[in-house]
């Protein structure tokens, strides 16, 4: 008998639970759907690029369904957090200095060593210095190169540097390019 009473109580409790259970929570609407949109009337007359739509978004496939939003893809540039847009325009890019060495042999088998120092802001070269065999430029080729190369590289993107016979110095230019390639690899 106690088993029968306990069984009846369980059945009644289960029925009550089903009857008075809270409804399943309705998922929240996407945030975008809550954002008040400018009505078509309000937007009418916006100049180039921002007129309200007069047609359905373009379909990416022959399907008759408007598919522009569905075919959007996301560039995965933010890996950890959303960017906050209300930020200062002050950038914190600091200049970085890179050093590379290069050497070359003249036809007379004389070796010359160059130490190239470049100061970069982002990818742009903003300052440079070269030591030739441990000191300032002395040979005609080095002097010619030293007087001309700055104008070719300052303010230029390091990825676009490719000197050729600057100041009449072809071997020095090649060695400089090798040093730049070395620095490019350090970025």
């Amino acid at each position: 008998m106690p088993y029968i009473i306990a069984f009846v109580i369980i059945i009644v409790a289960a029925g009550a639970l089903l009857l008075f259970r809270q409804p399943v929570e309705v998922p929240a609407e996407p945030v975008a759907a809550e954002i008040a949109e400018v009505s078509a009337e309000e937007a009418t007359g916006f100049p180039e690029g921002f007129t309200p739509p007069t047609e359905q978004p373009p379909a990416a496939s022959p399907s008759t369904e408007p598919a522009a939003l569905e075919t959007d893809t996301v560039i995965e540039v933010e890996t950890t957090e959303e960017v906050v847009l209300e930020v200062s325009t002050e950038t914190t890019t600091e200049n970085r200095t890179f050093v590379a060495e290069a050497s070359y042999f003249t036809p007379r088998r004389t070796e010359h060593d160059l130490i190239i120092t470049l100061e970069l802001e982002g990818e742009t070269i903003v300052a440079s210095n070269i030591t030739y065999d441990g000191g300032p430029a002395i040979t005609p080729a080095h002097s010619g190169f030293d007087g001309a190369y700055s104008a070719e590289i300052i303010g230029q993107n390091i990825n676009e540097i490719d000197l050729s016979r600057v100041g009449g110095a072809s071997l020095t230019s090649v060695a400089f390019n090798e040093a730049v390639a070395d620095i490019r690899a350090q970025l």
Binding site: F50, T71, I75, T91, G122, T124
Partner: protein, 289 residues
Amino acid sequence: MKHSFQALGTTWWIEIFQDLTETTQDEVKDFVLSYVSTYEQNYSRFQPDSLVSTLNRDRTVVNPTSEFVQLLEYGKRLYLRSDTHFNLLTGHILESKGYDADYTFTTSGPALGPGNPVIDLHISPDLITLTGDANLDLGGFGKGYLVDLLARQLQHTHRIEQFLINGGGDMYATHNNNQPITIHLEHPTKPGVMITNTTLYNNGFAASSPHRRVWENSTGTHTHIIADTLTADATFIKAATTADADAFATAALMMNQHQIEQLVKTERLAVAQFNAQSEQLKSTKNFSS
């Protein structure tokens, strides 16, 4: 209040979402028109007596206004911030292609390359000099810069908090009763067709496309964007300021995906790029928010 007018070769809209008295509305309209007109007189490459034209012609401006100094320093910085992709020393190239003060759209000879802002443009409070052969053109960020100036004036001088300034597509929006303001992005080659929309809330926005401002002459088809190759048919940028959005929208058209990723991280931008052939829109995650 909604006010529209023509300036800097395009249509402007000033939309204010909060209530204003008629007197204040008139004051704001008069102020905006006067402010924009003065800016155009000072900085348009198409105005022969502007500071920009003076610098291009005389190669020097003595005792420049502090506003002009700040404007040029900002433009010069853009060259470095964009890793040389944005260059304000391209006026001579546009002129040689026919995008000149008279809108001749006639090629006037072979164009030199762009100038080098780091070594050609020297800016000090007392003197601005331009060396080399390149000419200055503020078209790549000047309108956005003006939108930002106007926004600051509305906020700080006229104490207006809720507004949208739209200068031919370069926009700055605060909010509408604390709600973001939705804008529509138009297809670059199908006028009136929407690609998608996004919202602005205290930030700037700009778009750039080589399919806008296109002209043809005996030497071919030309666009106002100076680049050998472009990576998209349209770029849309949200940034802290409209000037940033304006400049980086143009620069991003010339960047590959890796470069855009670096730019987004460094400058904290939201970017969308549209390819008209595939009808595909790629955007950073924060663009649609």
